[in-house]
Symmetry: C2
Subunit: 401 residues, 2 copies
Amino acid sequence: MKFFHTADWHLGKLVQNVYMTEDQRLVLQEFVKAIEEEKPDAVIIAGDLYDRGVPPTEAVNLLDEVLETIVLKLNTPVLAIAGNHDSPSRLHFGSRMMKSNGYHMAGQISKQLEPVVLNDEHGEVHFHLIPYADPSVIRYVFEDEEVKTHNDAMRKITDEIAARMNANARHVFVGHAFVTPTGEKEDNTSDSERPLSIGGAEHVSATLFEKFHYTALGHLHQAHFVLNETIHYAGSPLKYSISEEKHKKGFFIVEMDEAGKVTIEKRLLTPARDMRTVEAKMDELLKHPINEDYVFVRLLDETPVLMPMEKVRSVYPNAMHVERVIQAPIVKDGEATEKVARTKMDDLSLFKAFYQEVKGTALAEETEEIFLEVLQELLQKDNEQSAVKIAVTTNRAAKGV
Amino acid sequence: MKFFHTADWHLGKLVQNVYMTEDQRLVLQEFVKAIEEEKPDAVIIAGDLYDRGVPPTEAVNLLDEVLETIVLKLNTPVLAIAGNHDSPSRLHFGSRMMKSNGYHMAGQISKQLEPVVLNDEHGEVHFHLIPYADPSVIRYVFEDEEVKTHNDAMRKITDEIAARMNANARHVFVGHAFVTPTGEKEDNTSDSERPLSIGGAEHVSATLFEKFHYTALGHLHQAHFVLNETIHYAGSPLKYSISEEKHKKGFFIVEMDEAGKVTIEKRLLTPARDMRTVEAKMDELLKHPINEDYVFVRLLDETPVLMPMEKVRSVYPNAMHVERVIQAPIVKDGEATEKVARTKMDDLSLFKAFYQEVKGTALAEETEEIFLEVLQELLQKDNEQSAVKIAVTTNRAAKGV
């Protein structure tokens, strides 16, 4: 039995107000191509197909297209669950009708915990599709008042499955949760994941999954295993936050033998545009070759930069964010500078930096004197009057007169 | 060939802030029962399955249940289109996967205009499922700049269908539009329908449908035919506004013979609670037997009624609205009354009516004097001071002292 394990597509995702739909479409085309080539027996999507309960229609259309291709054109069963970003009932709609075509979507948890059974030459593989559910839902569905935390809820579910497990079959668990080796808090999150609960009782112990031959997880956006190789996060197919810059995005190809032993291959996906940090002075940055990546720019300039995003986008048209690493220093005529926040700069330093930026040359001594004179004058007048003067005199000073 | 024709379910509908979901569930159960008994070859739902693009999850679950029962349990094909209240892409999701099960949903219009073909002993019946679409969408999809109005759009579609129509087959058109005999404006709307366009270019001529053996329409909530018996609105299965009070709600059972000739039977549906007007004086109304209907009460009382909804709901717990037919009259000691709006009543008349309502007896002369005295006093003082007094003296007067 060979299956693909992916998760956290987050269709309809906005990053820094940019819709990722086109990037998602491209990377999913690559994913579909891999299905065509590898011909897996099934594709697992472990939750967060959409980024929100009511996704934009473009995302609905994209998911519809991709699923249709995998299920109808490539005739490959899809085993999917709702994640914490998905709307259980909206994803669940039509699922019983689509089942017979090979699209198995568990949107809402049911007490029956009926697995999807696929066969290979060695016999049955049971896929236990467990959508994300709040502990309160599990408490209600299984009528168990003891279920309080996410770990309680997952223990309840895995115990129930274990109690009715066919020992002759192989078993795959598909879930969407924050799993750590022992259920203790761990800091391997990304900024694009949404916490499952406030206060930290969201962690689930990986030991609960030891009874399964493979556990296909979704929720954390970095691909990694927990406790051992059989308990895996697929990670998201794209970077959805700059905190995921170092992630290698892709999916897993899992081959399961007769005994249920798995061999796991990671397959990388190539995004149309990478998401990465660029650190440079503006002068250098403007000499970079033009590049479409989603860059987060850290400017190393010591002096303020005017209209930085406009300049950056002449080279990186899809730049998402620009910030200055070093805040404006006090400039003292060629002396070594002291790094201080701009708010702490005195008026003259601020003006010098501004002058340098606008004129491209340092402030002449004469101009400095005029500035200080005017400033002194202004400080003595009342606010309303001085507002007018500032405009006039600043203008004069900027012209170097 | 026998098929059911229904439309305008509006699942998720709120009437006067009351969710109709339970009433919808009951009436749809009756509808499903009729399918069980009559065993039609297909069920047509001519748009507005939901009341809005993003319906509440209860509505999604209800539609899922009903469709699953009809399609999977009763093995009856469903031929449905999106109406102007539905979200085309959300309803379209999964439709190609569900097709093979017999759920045919046209959410988005496609240029191909491929009909759904069903067979009976006489041959093929082609069902042309045309979802609601704005004229701008038709202009874009068919690349025809001439399409401006709804009538242009429908002519374009029906012409395209006619051009590729199989003359040996029988044809059923399923659409969602405001159809009148000649495409002129007609006033047969209900308050619960949403206008298709502002300014009145929404009407479509029934003559466009003469080439079809039957036209199953949705949009107008009253069941009726347009031009001739073969062009029918099914109407909504429930009353969704008091303006639909006189409607007989139900659906059509259409039998089509070898030649495409139809015989049409109207089957009524019985709502759990009727929607109707009750006109009475409060005293009489309070003697009515307790009744669960959604009543809109018109009170015939001549004097103001305190807490009318609270009183009405002691008899009609699901009352939706209460109004007084006759506005408060000026009461002149037994004289014939002149009907004037409450805003025009003088202070003494208002107080008399209030006193009568609270105490159940007429105002004594002595009390009237006290009231007038206090009122006079109050009018002379400034606003802020008198505010306090009003409370105190009104209280005194109400006690009859």
